[in-house]
Structure formats: C-alpha cells, structure tokens
C-alpha cells in the first residue's frame, strides 16, 4: 500500500515507531523504571519482599541443620508455621509466573489457585510444636552434643529473649564478645535485627492487603459511578463523602479499645476507610473514557456491558489508580507504625512502630532501637513514594509532550 504521502516527521510518530511491538503497560513501566528514583524504590521493595518471605531462614534460633548422634535433622523446618509455607509457595509461583509467557489475567488466576491450595494443605498438615525452648540448642552445643550444626545467618528468633545476662537485656550493637547482635538487642534481650526482619512481613502485608481492599472497593464503586453517572453517581458521591469524614486513626483506636488487637482488623479498617480516594480516581477516569470514541464504538457494536467496563474502559483507566495505590501502601504502613508506636499495635509480634515505642520507653536513649526501625520505615515509605512519583510522571501525557 502506498502511504508515503501520509508519512510524517513528527516526534510522536517517531516515538511510536520506536516503541513498536510493545504494549502501553510495557512502555509505561519501561519509562518509569529508567529513572534512578524508581529503580532504587523497586530495589528496596524487592529486597524487603525477599527478606520478608525468607525471614525464618534468615533469622531463627532453630538451627538450619544439625547432626546429633549421626542423625541429621532440621529443627527450623519443623518449626515453620503454615503461614510460612503459604508465603514461600506464593513467592515461588510468582517467580515462575514472571518468566512464563501467558496472559496477565491467567497469571492472576494461577496465583490465586496455588495460593488457596497451599493454604488449605498447609493449615491442615503443618502443626509446629507449641512449646519452643530456644536455649536448648545453645546449651547442647556448648556441651558438645552435636557433631556439626548450621545456624541461620542471624541465630536468634525475634522472641528469643535472653534475660539472664543482667537486670536488662539491652545491649548496644556488637557490644558483647560472645554474641553478635548486629543491631543490638532490645530490653528483653532479643535481637533487634531479627525482630526487624520478621516485622517486615507485617509492614509489607498491611500495606498490600489494606491497599488491595481499598482498591477493590474503590474500582467497583468508582467504575459504576463513572459509567452510569446520574443518580448512581449522586448516591455514590454522598457515600464517599460520608466515608471520607471518618477519621481512620480514631476508628482504629476505638476498635482496638473494644475488640482484640488484630492485624487483620487493622488491614480491613484501613482498607474500608481509604477507598473513596481510589473511587474518585476511577470515577473521573470513567467519566472521561465514557465519552471516548472507542467506548462509543464498543457500545455501537453492541458489546455487553461487562466487556465495555472491564476490557475497554478499566485497562485504560487503571494507571492513575496504580499511582495512587503506591502512595496508599506507604500511608498504610505509616498508619500501622503510628498505632504500634502508640502501644496499640500487636501485643506479641514485633513491628517497626512497636520497636520505636520501645526505644522511647527505656530510661536511657538507646539509639540503635530508634535508628534502625525508624530508618526502615522511612526507606520503605520513601521507596513507595518514589515509585509512585515516577509512575505518575510516566503516565502523564503532558510531560511527554513538553519533551517533544
């Protein structure tokens, strides 16, 4: 076909020919992650995610492997919980799926199926011993009962309290000759680094789950409001305004005061109170897209509503929501840290905010207990914000035009 007359020299066309054979999503991601900020953010989150998944292998008082009377056993594996197994299986499925070349929604389905299957199996079969005596390995090792022993890189569990060294367990980083605590210990004598590693699960989990709940509600509500507008939109907007008026932190405090302290409750409350932000984005996008000619064309072709909403409109409107989500994850992490700092977080499990709280409660200022968890919170929130910002820049067509 002779189309030479319509050839043009504009920058846009040159860009698009260069980006040939790549989908829009790939282009945006490529553009976003060429910036150093986004790369740093992604790197930090990846490190954090890996650490969170392999936390029991990285920091655990149970040895990885030991040989006692020429019987080789792995106490660490025995003490793994069902949750650990689910996390590991999900992690490996995701790694495999990234390299598999199948459609995105199929990947989501596969992930969901493997996740639920392993969850069922793990909760039925895995039952770690209830009673744990962390000291037994150290005592036996000192007595020379093992032929050989392989410890985890940080041989202390987060709840391995070593109190018998004095009246307080506090110890500055690398202060003791006989034990190496890289980040020192807290007042009960447990290892700060180990606690931080295990707490990264809570930080990431609350971020993802709370944001996931908020996004799900937000997309559905916003999508319906944007597409149908009229009376649906009016009711939806008023509902959103009601939810936006609820102060999240005080609601959390109230629930914690009346019910038990639970991580899941926190996730749900943060999620349920923060959806209006996402709904606003989706609504605005859908209102814009509804007037777009390809949506009109889809209607004119008689396509079913489901297809118009989810195949034609949602993929084109999802980008700003992802940007908002990356900021949302950061703020959910902060909310949990705030609660824990106020002493209203989880009782037993370590979390970064709770560790900061411990730092202030002690009579002396223990810098290592403020610096490391505080730094971790800062870096994680910063990383999410960096990613969000560069994603926002990448999807902003105005910025692209000004560069052309």
């Amino acid at each position: 076909m002779n189309n030479s007359t319509s050839e043009s020299l504009s920058v846009d066309e040159l860009k698009s020919s260069q980006a040939a054979n790549r989908s829009y999503a790939a282009q945006v991601l490529c553009e976003a992650f060429t910036q150093w900020g986004a790369r740093f953010g992604l790197f930090w989150i990846a490190v954090l995610a890996t650490v969170a998944v392999f936390a029991p292998f990285l920091a655990n008082s149970h040895p990885l492997l030991l040989s006692e009377g020429s019987v080789v056993s792995s106490p660490l594996l025995q003490y793994l919980t069902a949750g650990d197994f689910v996390m590991l299986s999900l992690f490996f499925t995701i790694v495999v799926l990234i390299f598999l070349n199948i459609r995105f929604y199929k990947k989501v389905v596969v992930l969901f199926v493997t996740g639920s299957i392993t969850a069922i199996i793990a909760f039925m079969l895995v039952s770690p011993p209830q009673l744990t005596v962390y000291d037994q390995y150290r005592v036996k090792q000192a007595a020379g009962a093992y032929e050989w022993i392989i410890h985890a890189p940080i041989p202390y569990s987060p709840k391995d309290y070593i109190r018998d060294e004095g009246d307080t367990g506090l110890e500055a980083p690398l202060a003791s000759e006989e034990r190496t605590h890289w980040f020192g210990t807290e007042e009960n004598g447990s290892d700060v680094l180990s606690r931080m590693i295990h707490a990264s699960r809570i930080a990431l989990g609350i971020g993802f789950v709370a944001t996931g709940i908020a996004m799900l509600i937000g997309i559905i509500m916003g999508g319906l409001m944007g597409f149908f507008s009229g009376i649906v939109d009016m009711i939806g907007m008023r509902l959103m305004e009601i939810f936006e008026a609820v102060p999240t932190l005080f609601l959390l405090l109230t629930f914690i005061a009346f019910f038990e302290r639970s991580l899941y409750m926190m996730m749900v409350i943060i999620g349920v109170t923060s959806w209006p932000g996402y709904a606003r984005f989706v609504r605005a996008e859908f209102l814009r897209l509804r007037q777009q000619e390809f949506v009109q064309a889809a209607t004119a072709c008689g396509l079913p509503l489901r297809s118009i909403l989810f195949r034609h409109m949602l993929p084109n409107g999802i980008a700003p929501i992802l940007v908002a989500a990356s900021f949302g994850v950061a703020s959910a992490i902060l909310a949990e840290a705030t609660l824990s700092f106020l002493g209203l977080g989880l009782v037993d499990d370590p979390s970064w905010g709770q560790m900061l709280n411990q730092a202030v409660q002690s009579s002396t200022f223990n810098w290592w207990m403020a610096l490391f968890p505080g730094g971790a919170i800062f870096l994680t929130v910063f990383a999410y914000n960096l990613m969000g910002e560069s994603l926002r820049d990448a999807i902003d067509p105005n910025l692209k035009k000004s560069a052309g």
């Binding site: 076909m1 319509s6 009109q296 004119a300």
Partner: protein, 561 residues
Amino acid sequence: MLLQVDNLKTHLCAGKNIVKAVDGVSFSIDKGEIFCLVGESGSGKSITALSVIQLIPKDICSHPDGRIAFRCGDLDGRGEREMLDMLTVSEALKRKVCGARIAMIFQEPMTSLNPVFTVGDQIIEVLQIHWPEMDDTEARRRAIAALAQVQIPDPEMRIDEFPHRLSGGQRQRVMIAMAMACEPDLLIADEPTTALDVTVQAEILRLMKELQARKGMSILFITHDFGVVAKMADRVAVMRKGKIVEEGTLQQVLHQPKHDYTKQLLAALPENLKRQRDLQLVESPSPAAASPETESAQPPLIDVHQLEVYFPVKKGLFRRTVDHVKAVDGVDLKIPKGQLLALVGESGCGKTTLGRAILRLVDSTAGSIAFNQQEITQLQRKAMIPFRRDMQIIFQDPMSSLNPRMTIVGTLIEPMAVHGIGESKEERIEIARKILERVQLDGDHLWRYPHEFSGGQRQRIGLARALVLNPKFIVCDEVTSALDVSVQAEVLQLLMELRAEKALTLLFITHDISVVEYVSDEMAVMHSGKVVERGPTADICRNPQQEYTQNLLSAVPRLVL
C-alpha cells in the same frame, strides 16, 4: 526585505532521537507581504515559524545551521535599523523583539488566553512591558482602540470581560488585537482559523487582510488549507518533510505547480476529486444518474421524526435540573436505502449529537427513530443488540476511536463474537484479515496496537471495525476532518468504493462543504439543533434558499480552478 531565512535547520531531540524538523529552509518576506507556508501535518511549517520567533525551548532544539535575519525597526525608540540574527541574538534583546516587532497568533483560541485575567489586563500587560513609560489610562485607551480595531462590539465594556465570556471567534480577535497592540512589523499566524467555523473564519481572514493592508505589516501565514491560501497569500511556499519543495507567487503555485508533490496535493483536494469524477462520468455515462428517481418508491431505511435531544444543566447538591441545552431540536430526517445524506453544519449545531442519537448512543428526549420501519427509540440495551449489527459509526478522531490497549485483531473480532459471525476464532481472524486487506491495510497489521499506525491508517481501521459486522447503515462523523488532504482523498475514495460495493446507506456528517460536494447527492444543513435546508447537493450549493445556508456557503474559502 523584512525577514530573510537562509538554510535554516532546526533539529528536535526527543531522548536519543534527533528529528530534523526543519531541514534547510530558505525564504524571505518583504515588507507588507503575506507569505503562506503550506504543508501537511508534520511537514515542519509550525516549527519553522517557532524558530523565527525563537519559541522552542532551548533544551530540546538545536540549530546546526542557518541564519534568520530580521530587519528590526525602531527598538527603544532610537530609530536604529539593523539586521538581527534571531539565532544568535541575546535573550534580553530577543524579549524586546518578540511581541513588539514580531508577534504571533496561535491556532487554539480557547487555550491561548489566560482564563484568570480579563482580556484588557492581558493586552495592557503586553503594552506596558514593551513601553514601560506608558501610564495606565493611556494603556487602557490603547487596549480599547486595539479591540475596536479588531471589530469587537462595545470594546469599552468588553475590555473587562474574562476570556470564557467570549466566543471562539471573539477570542481569536482578542489574540489578534494583542498581537497588533505594539504594531509589529511581522505577524506570525500559525493556523489561526483552523479551530474556527467557516463563517467565523471568513470574518477573521477578512479582518487580518484589512489590518495588514492598513498597517503595512507582513504576515507569515501558516496553514494546511489551500482555500485559505487562495484567499490570503501574495506568495506561497509548499513544505514537505522539513524542506520547501516549491515557492512562488499565488498564481504560479496554484495554477502552474511545478513540483510533483504540489500537484499531488492539489489533485487530492475534494474540489478536484469531484472534477475528476465528473469528467469520468461524462466519459462513461452510467446508470447512477437514474437512482434519485427511484428513491421515493422505496421506504426509508432511517426515519427520524421530530427528534429532540436535550441535555439537562444540573446544579446543586442533589443535581436538580435547572435548564436544558437543546442539542437536537425537532429534526425530521428520512434516509432512503442506499443513499448518502450529507449533514452539514458548524460546530455546536447538534449534527454529531443527531448522528449518535440515531444509533441510540445518546438517549433522545422526544420524537421517534425508526430503522427499517422498526421503532427503536425506546428499546432497552439488550433489545438494541440485534440492531447494533446493522448500524455502525465511524468517528472523527483517529487517536481516540481505537482502544489503545487492544490489538487490532481484538478490536475487530470481539464484535463478531458477540453477534455470532464466524464459527471459531480462527475463522473470525480470517474475516478480519480480509476486511483489513479490503481497506488497503496489510493483513499482518492485525497483531499491532493502534499507536503504531498513522492517522489515515487508524481511520481505515475504524472503517474496518464498522464493516466487520456487515452493516446496512453507517454514520460517518467527520471522518476526514483530522486528516491531511492527501490522506483525506484516499479515505474518501475508499469509502465511496465500499459504499458502491456493499450498497451502504450513509449519514455523512461534516463541516467541510467541498467534501460534501464530492461525496453526496443529498445534503441537509443544520443550524442550532434544526435542519434548516435539505435537498440535492448540487441545487443547494448552486442556489441556497435559506439565509443561513447562503452565509455558510459564501464563507467557504474556495479555490478557483
């Protein structure tokens, strides 16, 4: 010699790519002359103009070669007359020259005025920047004079209006007033009338020509429209891919074009297409002429009766309806099978809304629509689906009419699957491939995404999407307005071929009279929601009855060939 451009090269850098937007352009403009740069989109005509006034950000453009000499009269009131090289001039001097000695008007009047200042403030600011000694009352007096000069009614009142209170044409007048306030030697007008309706365009062009003659200034006029060129230019240069391919007086370029590209462009004008077709018809008399007589016997395929589409204006917390915008206000329209009816009107006359209301993409307020004698006005979404197959639409904007996240094959086969065309996915892909080849695209283009195509190609894909369902009726909503003339000619010819081949009934919505003359036998003229005149195209164009139609037709810039 006022402006002398020698071998100008402007390279734009986008990331690592360098685009040679202007590649060795030379021309000169004399005092008191209108010089037109014509070219299709992407030919570098705007970049040339922006280079002259040095408005491209320094970090994305470079000038490897060239010289822009501008004879700058009377800077600082010292009366010096020197040739400035705009490429090497200092920032401070450049700011003095721009606005005062060289002024610019842009294409989009809606966005080129700052909405938070009154128009008076914006003109006075320009005046006081270039003449700091001018006091407020004097500046205001001159601003009013400038507005009066561009024939804004009640300039004393209008000077305190905010831009949103003015119409598009009035805003463009204000832009001209602002540009002329300092009485520049050179006015650069970058497609100043492209975004305006023909009647407004005619007024603005007349005004510019008048002012130019009175003030004796020069205009560098950039356009893609040969009709406008014929009206305005003293001398013309045709640009293509960053180079000037032909330059000469208006007569030479339009009537004795030497370069092939110029000839090609002129041949692609709808006026010329029509002439060619008429010649062919004379050579081979066909039975086509007999068709209008049979139409009265046939029942109309589309029968619109007293159709009204009102858009409510809602306000307040509970969105009470306070007023209506009457987009379509009582339209009767019958389109017989196989006919092409052209619907002509200026922007905002409701022609697009009417087209969409017929397809039930917009809900109508009152009246009835019948397709093939079946009433479809009140059908629910589900009940409409069988009719969707027979009624399709092609849109104006090739950018937004295709889903950017879907491959072409996805866009084409999804409607087929819904309507049960083709047994299997493979068969549907095969049908899609055939249709794509029918609209003169490569079958392998199926696997690409919309952004990989040019505007004309996307418009063909839009046509293919309408055709996959094998419809009886297609609404063509300004299908060629966003395309260059040569591409427009290809798309129009393709559409005409397909129409004959598949016996399609078309509602062809457009604002371009020359296109109407080429494509249609019947036309209807719309004005503020009503059809004011309807009849055979040739009759209406030759002898319009209504006053509105007469104004509209006389405003069209024509190329006398």
